[in-house]
Structures are given as structure tokens and as C-alpha cells.
Subunit: 389 residues, 2 copies
């Protein structure tokens, strides 16, 4: 049992949108294929991964360091003899050889891509959907058949007014979503409040609407938005301030009573732990949104969950950033709180199985072994292209 | 006034050594040359930078994102009209366009390389040593002519016993150093204590010897080493534990009275601020060792110093990681506490001016405009090679 090749490609996303901080038209995503010598149903098992849009493709790092380490390892080092499978923990250690602690960014994407593709291959070798494999190994065999998802959208487009925003949200509701998220911070407060009020007309009540500031606010702005939004009791106020300013999160949590959310720009267990230790987040209401594809993969996500439980946090407070099948498998198999969804953005690197609709704000998972990307007609041909090299 | 080209090369270091965590023989360093259209003494001004050994070269990131952004900018965006020079702050903003907050690693090296090479060019255009330029712009015109340096060595080599360690330290003392640092954590505690005692025979007293655990200890080990070492009152106990485990630093600082030190694996102002806010470090004795070449460059170093002062920390408690001329210029021009030195390791990417000896534990700086790498016969030909493309 060995890894025969690791291939990667760099792709753009079909988005001409921007949030408060970045322009997505310049962004890139890595697609990784880990080709094994294991054969299932007459074909070699290939594990796949891509990273969530928002940071960048990791081609340089993949090729300079991480692919070489895995391809240079003796296959005996990463075989799981008890299960006759690959050992994803051993492969993670191999990838991280000669890496210093701290400084978790960029390499955390490269390692995540490899780790996630390896977990996809492991589930395929075992002949199970990834969520079931995770449930059996790490969650006492329990998993959720359907996962709560919310529609992340509400981006700023040139010339997009409250009517267009309402039409967008109505379209999400028509497609089965019940909770929607819109961007704030890209317009003056008064204009953003008008957008929130317009959005509430569609979604009906505060707890069905979340807002995302993409970490752009300083203390004064965060407090002003908090004061203005508190009466609406929104689903959550996401990334109010710099993701590493734990003390300011704690200050905001003291005065803003409705739920807060953050985590998509914290890329390791030690960073996640600092948020929980120092960020003043409230385990009874706030949301943790770590993104597996940006933070060293499934292996590190398990470490994050292991860290959370003794600190009084339920996995149900974790809702992964990144609206794609990998996040959905994590949410289902580890019984997290739900999963982000991108109904209209970041195609083809977003969405769930083509033929499984969202209903009552929840969505099911494909039964295919592994992550099931072959159920997504837009992304699967790209993965086949990368695997072919 | 414009940047004509940015070139980079990847080089190894002459080290077959290891510390508690990594094997340096696999490491790489980036060298960057920023070629301008400004002419001084008949030649185009070229700014240079390399990163401290210990993380890795940043070629992929430099070429994928950061060089492109600067070369794609309108030169009007980065001209400093008041001084008829490049504006390094504007160039830093350009490099960081479309980058999300948080996740400070790897890209922090790529941006640092560009930023440092730009500051080198700015000082050359102004015809001043970098330390004087920094002093005039940011330190009320005051700088230190000589900087305290300590000799970082004491690595583990196969078969190296206490006698060889003593000979190594004696050689540093013979070369004018008064304080030395050795590695710990790569051997059992009893063996490390024997190494410390052997080292103390040479350096004479505890405050002349520092130890570096390279973040390898868990809580039990850190406490055990702390208890064993406390009676020696060593100069500092560096990187006892994971650089992001601020709570554990605080716990150690409560029981270990002599100085602690850390910071080389914290790569941004927000990360540095978290150490100061949550790490329990003591402004009257502990040391902050942020590495400019790994953490977004001079521009971010200035932000870190600006953050420290209102929190009660003097710049004299900052001793940059990285034993090379760039750290020395920061220490002199911003009147920091001193600077690391690598008398015998990481050549050619270490050391100060060839013809300026260390005396009484202090070293002076070259008078050349910029950083003065032309005073280093080993690194200068490499820089010329990179600049030639």
C-alpha cells in the first residue's frame, strides 16, 4: 500500500464580488489529487481536496516542501496495518517534519490539502462515506443524516441596492434555506442597517439572519455596529474584529448579548485554544467557525475538537467555514452545529451533492465512499484533470 | 522613481546541525533583490534582503502573489514625494492587498523579504546606514553606536560532549562575546544540566549563559527544567513551550523567577500583542525576540514597537532573533536591548561586517549606506548573483 503520486492544480473561482476586505476575482484555489496503488471497483483509489476560497492556492509550498516529504517517505511509515489502510496521522507527521511551531498560515493550507485528500482516500479504501468513517472512529458511531446549513451571500456588488439583496435572499429561501448571512462593513453604518432591515423583511426574524464584517472593524466601529444591531437579536455577528485580537472579542462579548462568531482565520489548535481561553466567547450561544481546509486538515480539526470539550465547549457550537462537501462531512460525522453554504458563490468550489436539495434549512450527504465529489458535476471534471496530471 | 525588477534566489546554509525540533540541513533561505531606477555613485540602487534560517525560503509565495502586486502597481502609488524616495509603507500596503487578516506565517516571510529589501534601498537612496535612517525617522535621532550581542550556539552534534561544548563557548569568548546561548531539550534533563554546568565553567556566571528549548517542552518538562535551572539565574530561558500557548508561559512566569524569552515564532503585531497581553511576561526582566525577517519586515517591527510602549514595555526588552546585519541595524537604530549573533552557524546568512570585531560583548555597524552587506565577503557575491538575475 503506497501513495504513487500527488498532483495539484491551481484554479480561479467564478466570482466578481468583494466583501469588506478583499476582491475575490484575484483569488485562487488549489486542487490536490493523492493517487494510491489501492484498487477499488477496478480503479485506483484517488483522494481529492480543494481549499476554501478566501486565502490562496498553495502550489509553491506544496511543491517546495510538503509533497516531497510524503513522496520521500518509506510507505511502511504510513501504513495502518490494523486496518490495511493509509494512516492519516502518520502522514500528517511526515508532512510536518522539520517545521517549527507557531506561524500557522499558508503552510496550514498546503498541509490541509494533503491531509484532506488522504482522508478522502482512506474513506474510499474503507468503502464508506467520510462522515461515517469519522463517526465510527471518533464519535462513537453516531452521525447526523441531515445537517443544518445557512446560505452565505449578501455580498456587495456595484449598484446592488436593498431590492437586489432581498431578491437574493428570497432565492435562497426558495431553495430551502431558512437562515441567511449578509456582509456588513463595506458601506457606512446607516446604509448597512438599511440592508439588514431589508434582509429581515425577507427572512422574517433576527435569528434567521447573520451578518459578517470580515474582521474589518476597529473597536469603535464594532461597538457602534453592536449597539445598532443588538435589538434585532441576529443569528450571529461574524468576525467583528481582527481574528487575533482576543481581548477585543472579550470586550465586545461583554456588551453585545446576541451570538458572536469567528474562527475562519485561526488556522491551528493553539490559535483556536487562544480564542476560547482569551476571547470571552460564550459556550451557550457563540459560534466557532474553524475552516478545516485552511488549518492543517481533518487531523488538526480533531485536535481542535479534543481541545474544546474539556474547556466546556460542545462540538455543536462549531459550524465550519467553507460551504462545500468536506465541511458537511465534518459537521455530519462529528455532529457539529451545522455548516456554511455558498448557494451562489465560489463555483465550482462550493456546494453539496447536485441531486440532494436543501429542505427546511437542512441538507443530506451523498452515500458514495469518501467525500463524494463525483456527485458534483462542476468540480468533478476538474479533479479528474488534476488526477490525470 | 520606480522599481524596475524584483529578483529572488533560494539558497541552503552550511549547517549539519539540529536543535530540539528541526534538522537545519534541509532548510532554505530566500535572497531578494529590489532593483530601482535610482542611481547613486554611478550605479542603480538595489535593495537586498534574506530571511533568518529556521523557517524556509518563500519563493513560491513571492512569485505567486507578492512580487506581482508590487510590479503591477503604478509607481506613483509608492513614491514618497516629500523625500524623493520610495515609500516603504505604501509598498507594504500594496504587497498586502487582498490578503485577509490572521494566519500570519509564510506570507509574513515573503512580505518581510520585500519590505526589508525596500528599506535597504530607501536608506541607500538617502545615502545613510539603515540604523541612522531608522533613528532619524522613528527614534528622535538617537541610535546606539555599539550593540550588545550574544553568541547563539551550543547545538547538539552527534558525539559532542561537554568538553566540545566548552571549547565552542571558549572560542566565542575568545572572539569578544561575553554571553553565550546553548540548546536544551535535545537530551534528557540530567544530561542537559551537565551541559549547563560545563558551560558555566567557561562563561563564569549564570547571567552570562542563556538556554534555548526551541518550544519543545510540555508543561511538565518546562516546569522540571525551570526548577532545575532556577538556582543558576541564567541570562534567559528561551522558547520554553509552544510559542502560542500564552497561558502556559504565564504559568511558568509565576514560578520561574529568572528571565524568560520568546517571540521568534510570532510573526505579526497582533501575535506579539497577545504574548504581551496574555503571556504573563514581566517587563522588568523578560525578553521579546521577534524576528523582523520572518514577520512582515521593518514596517511591522515598527508597529510592534508602537504597540509595546503603551503596554509598559521598553524597546530595550526587545532583542531580535536572527544574528545578521538587519537585526543589528534595528537594534542600533531603534535602541533595542541587543541582538542575537551566530558566530559559527548559518553561514553565509549570518554575521556582521567582516572587519568589525566583537569587543566586550558589543559590536559596531558598518558606515555604508543601507544595510551594508557589501562588508560581508561571503554573502555579498550571492546577492550580486541574485541581482543579476
Amino acid at each position: 500500500m503506497k501513495i504513487l503520486a500527488i498532483r495539484d492544480g491551481v484554479y480561479g473561482v467564478k466570482s466578481a464580488i468583494s466583501n469588506a476586505v478583499i476582491d475575490f476575482s484575484q483569488m485562487t484555489v488549489s486542487v490536490v489529487a493523492v493517487v494510491t496503488d489501492v484498487v477499488r471497483e477496478g480503479k485506483p483509489v484517488v483522494g481529492f481536496a480543494f481549499n476554501t476560497n478566501g486565502r490562496y492556492a498553495a502550489q509553491g509550498l506544496l511543491r517546495e516542501r510538503f509533497i516531497k516529504r510524503i513522496m520521500g517517505a518509506d510507505p511502511k511509515e504510513y501504513r495502518d496495518p490494523a486496518r490495511d489502510n493509509l494512516d492519516p496521522f502518520a502522514l500528517h507527521r511526515i508532512a510536518m517534519r522539520n517545521e517549527k511551531p507557531g506561524g500557522h498560515g499558508e503552510r496550514s493550507v498546503a498541509v490541509a490539502l494533503l491531509d484532506i485528500a488522504i482522508w478522502d482516500a482512506v474513506a474510499k479504501i474503507e468503502g464508506k462515506p467520510l462522515c461515517r468513517l469519522l463517526a465510527e472512529r471518533f464519535n462513537g458511531g453516531k452521525w447526523d443524516e441531515r445537517v443544518w446549513v445557512y446560505a452565505a451571500g449578501g455580498y456587495y456588488y456595484p449598484g446592488k441596492g436593498p431590492e437586489a439583496l432581498r431578491a437574493e435572499l428570497r432565492s435562497y429561501l426558495d431553495r430551502g434555506y431558512e437562515t441567511c448571512k449578509i456582509k456588513i462593513g463595506g458601506a457606512p453604518l446607516a446604509e448597512d442597517m438599511a440592508r439588514i432591515e431589508a434582509a429581515l423583511v425577507e427572512v422574517g426574524e433576527g435569528p434567521r439572519l447573520a451578518v459578517d464584517a470580515n474582521a474589518r472593524f476597529d473597536e469603535t466601529e464594532a461597538m457602534a455596529y453592536g449597539r445598532a444591531m443588538a435589538p434585532f437579536n441576529l443569528a450571529f455577528f461574524e468576525e467583528p474584529v481582527d481574528p487575533l485580537d482576543y481581548a477585543l472579542h472579550a470586550k465586545l462579548a461583554e456588551v453585545y448579548a446576541p451570538p458572536l462568531a469567528t474562527g475562519e482565520n485561526l488556522f491551528s489548535m493553539p490559535d483556536a485554544r487562544n480564542l476560547v481561553r482569551h476571547g470571552g466567547f460564550r459556550p451557550d450561544r457563540d459560534w466557532l467557525q474553524f475552516d478545516c481546509t485552511l488549518s492543517y486538515g481533518v487531523t488538526e480539526y480533531l485536535r481542535i475538537l479534543d481541545m474544546l470539550h474539556p474547556l466546556g465547549w460542545s462540538g455543536r457550537r462549531v459550524v465550519p467555514h467553507g460551504g462545500h462537501l468536506l465541511s458537511l462531512h465534518l459537521a455530519a460525522g462529528l455532529q457539529l452545529g451545522g455548516c456554511e453554504a455558498y448557494p451562489d458563490v465560489f463555483k465550482p468550489f462550493s456546494g453539496f451533492a447536485d441531486n440532494i436539495p436543501v429542505q427546511n434549512g437542512h441538507v443530506g450527504l451523498p452515500e458514495n465512499p469518501g467525500t463524494g465529489y463525483e456527485t458534483q458535476s462542476e468540480v468533478w471534471p476538474i479533479m479528474q484533470e488534476v488526477a490525470a496530471g
